[in-house]
């Protein structure tokens, strides 16, 4: 450990300075400090001598209902006690990073959001390789693209097993479509908007007839186009390739052209006007993931929103992985718990009780799942729409610098939406991304 070496050097230095300036009261510290030094040597955990009983700490975020599943697990496995700690999403990831960086304090099992997983791409030594504990056997349980995101580039290392996912669909306001004289059933809308050109022409039509904009803002349009690209910002060697292919630039240009025709709004996500727009129908569609249902239900009346697939495919936003940090002294037990938690049976329960969308395709065949319908969205079988989207997601390598590049591009898109020059913003964003990447 680098930091521990540095701390030792520091303590030796401090000690000698204190000895030289021989002050009466200062003797206390020197003895204090040596005791610190002693503790550096023994970094033993708390449950060293017990063989049978194991206590696993588990960090999770959000409203998952995992506490109920855990009860069930502990009943079936009486030698395992699981201490669940629910945290705010950002807080969990900050605390996990601090703990992994300092090499102490991480839990036995940590739920890591898919974006955050990229951060640890080159820190395999901070996690147990779940393939060492039998993860390869359950590969067939999961969708390919979800599985691959949990692996390293060459597939030799498994960071975590996937829990839920966030396949993206097109939510739309039936009333706005009707106001524009268009059909509004999911089948008809799906038929009407098969390509992004269709999306644009429908947007023009809605704008002409109702004066309303097609969607809330630029961010989700850009995301939708980006997520359908077979290559994103990096190749598997983590080299920036965003300028070597046209996919991302096309996504950018498409978004810009909608902005320039005034077909999309400039409402930022998670602002009061965004929530309010959901209820009032200020915009016709929302290109969001499965979990966005809950947000829409919170802010709109039932019956006006419906769901269909995105034009030209789908993407993914959100979802998590259960990882076992390298510090854990009970990786076998931790893995067994992770495997159980992410198994199709448990995923089905999480879906039915908490709406967490499963990453295990076998669940999609389950009759309970197939029949799952939602009156809020006009009684359509929502689970089927989402599972169709989940299976349409293209696997793609993201890379540890993914969100650095994504952030600057999103900023560029929002600047263009506020009136900036698209080409200048693009070039500035690429420059800024390169500068940030060179520092990492």
């Amino acid at each position: 450990m680098n930091m521990s070496k540095l701390l030792k050097v520091f303590l030796v230095g401090l000690l000698s300075v204190l000895l030289m300036t021989a002050c009466g009261g200062d003797d206390d510290t020197s003895s204090d400090d040596t005791s610190n030094d002693d503790t550096t040597e023994d970094t033993s955990g708390d449950t060293g001598d017990e063989k049978e009983d194991v206590t696993l700490s588990f960090w999770e975020f959000g409203n998952t209902g995992y506490d109920v599943l855990i009860e069930e697990y502990m009943e079936a496995n009486p030698h395992v006690t699981i201490e669940l700690q629910n945290m705010d999403q950002n807080d969990l990831h900050d605390n996990l990073f601090t703990s992994l960086s300092a090499g102490s304090g991480a839990p036995d099992v940590a739920m890591v959001e898919v974006n955050q997983l990229e951060r640890y791409r080159d820190a395999e030594d901070r996690f147990h390789n779940l393939k060492d504990y039998g993860a390869a056997d359950v590969e067939g349980n999961f969708l390919d693209w979800v599985w691959q995101t949990g692996e390293n580039a060459d597939g030799s290392f498994m960071f975590g097993l996937p829990t839920d996912i966030g396949p993206t669909v097109m939510y739309y306001r039936t009333d706005v479509f009707e106001e524009a004289g268009l059909e509004s059933s999911p089948e008809a809308v799906g038929e009407m908007i098969q390509t992004w050109e269709d999306f644009e022409s429908v947007a023009q039509e809605i704008y002409e007839k109702t004066g309303k904009q097609m969607t809330d803002g630029a961010e989700l349009v850009f995301n939708a186009r980006r997520d359908q690209a077979p290559e994103h910002f990096f190749n598997t060697e983590d080299e920036l390739i965003v300028e070597e292919h046209d996919y991302i630039r096309n996504a950018y240009d498409y978004t810009v052209s909608l902005i320039e025709q005034d077909l999309i709004g400039d409402i930022q996500l998670w602002t009061p006007e965004w929530f309010a727009g959901m209820g009032e129908g200020t915009y016709a569609t929302l290109l969001g993931p499965a979990w966005m249902q809950g947000v829409i239900k919170d802010n709109a009346e039932p019956g006006v929103w419906s769901i269909t697939t995105l034009p030209e495919g789908a993407g993914n936003w959100g979802g998590s992985y259960l990882t076992v940090p390298a510090e854990s002294e009970h990786p076998e037990e931790a893995y067994a718990f992770v495997e159980w938690m992410t198994a199709p049976e448990q995923q089905l329960k999480s879906f039915l009780d908490y709406g967490l969308f499963p990453s295990a395709p076998s669940v999609y065949e389950d009759p309970e799942f197939l029949d799952y319908s939602d009156e809020f969205f006009g009684g359509i079988k929502t689970a089927q729409v989402f599972s169709e989207a989940a299976e349409a997601v293209v696997p793609v390598y993201k890379g540890k610098g993914y969100y650095t590049v994504n952030d600057v591009l999103q900023e560029a898109v929002s600047n263009v939406n506020a009136g900036a020059d698209p080409d200048e913003e693009w070039n500035a964003a690429i420059e800024q991304a390169k500068s940030a990447l060179a520092r990492q």
Partner: protein
């Protein structure tokens, strides 16, 4: 007064004992992190992998980064707009709250201090609503009466800086008022009474009595407010989110983003060192300027 050598030594020993807790605690909890940052400035480190020595490269990165200069510029602009007026308004508020003529002083005091205790989450939401980019946003709506087009408060260059400055001013003016208020206690009321008999106006009282007598407190506030302004971080983070757009990024926000968003701890540490020197220089200059206040008897 005669003091024996022995007595002097004894006093000194007691004095060292009195100040030692700070230094001991700092040695244990503050010094290592500080030296660690200093050390990191010459390494490339993402927080997880091995550190690699890169010499002065990190400094090279930040000095050739246009956003670093933006961050310096923003810090000074927001400091000037958000912090400097606090000192003037803080003195005026404290003077008013100290005046024996005023009833309900306690109520006013409590209310003026409220922004300091109001949760930052609430502040974020409310500023987001007041300074909404939408036409129906509070400020944009008012501006529409003057035929001003809706402003993108959290995107456009000056609106971003102005909004953050207002937030800073609003959150901290009550805090400085309380400090000034404590400083004003050492000014004997008799001085004001005498001035009133001589027919001095309120303005003259402030200029000729309050400000010169308050000089130690003013020095204190200028010192801490300068440091606070140069280390400004929470308000831009809350208003702009983790992305910390370059229109409103401050120096500390810049190094925080480098470290905790980009995982570039090396350049973050280099930026911290540069910032440290800027703070030393600028605080020194400000203290020199403050020192002249009493002499010219003129508040800036």
């Amino acid at each position: 007064m005669k003091k024996s050598l022995e007595e002097k030594k004894k006093t000194a020993r007691t004095a060292y004992l009195f100040i030692s807790p700070f230094f001991l605690l700092y040695a244990v909890f503050g010094l290592f992190p500080m030296l660690f940052s200093f050390y990191l400035a010459f390494f490339k480190w993402n927080g997880l992998s091995e550190m690699t020595f890169v010499g002065m490269e990190n400094f090279n990165f930040i000095f050739t980064d246009p956003i670093f200069y933006e961050a310096i510029k923003n810090t000074f602009i927001i400091g000037l707009l958000g912090t400097a007026p606090q000192i003037i308004v803080g003195i005026l508020l404290a003077f008013a709250l100290n005046s024996t003529l005023i009833k309900f002083r306690n109520t006013f005091r409590t209310m003026i201090f409220l922004p300091y205790v109001t949760s930052i989450v609430a502040v974020a939401i409310i500023f987001g609503v007041i300074f909404s980019n939408q036409e129906a946003g509070f400020i944009n709506y008012i501006l529409s009466f003057f035929d001003i087009e809706p402003i993108n408060w959290n995107i456009q260059n000056w609106p971003v800086k102005i909004t953050i400055s207002i937030m800073v001013f609003w959150r901290w003016v009550g805090y400085n008022t309380i400090i000034f208020l404590a400083g004003m206690q050492s000014i004997p009321n008799a001085l004001y009474e005498a001035a009133k008999i001589d027919g001095a106006t309120v303005w003259q009282q402030i200029r000729l009595i309050t400000i010169p007598m308050l000089k130690p407190t003013i020095t204190f506030v200028v010192f801490t407010a300068t440091i606070g302004a140069l280390q400004l971080f929470t308000e831009p983070l809350v208003f702009l989110g983790r992305n910390l757009r370059q229109e409103g990024i401050t120096m500390v926000a810049y190094l925080w983003k480098d470290a905790f968003v980009y995982n570039a701890f090396g350049t973050a540490s280099a930026a911290a060192i540069v910032l440290f020197f800027i703070i030393i220089i600028f605080t020194g200059v400000n203290l020199l300027l403050t020192n002249r206040i009493g002499r010219t008897k003129k508040a800036r």
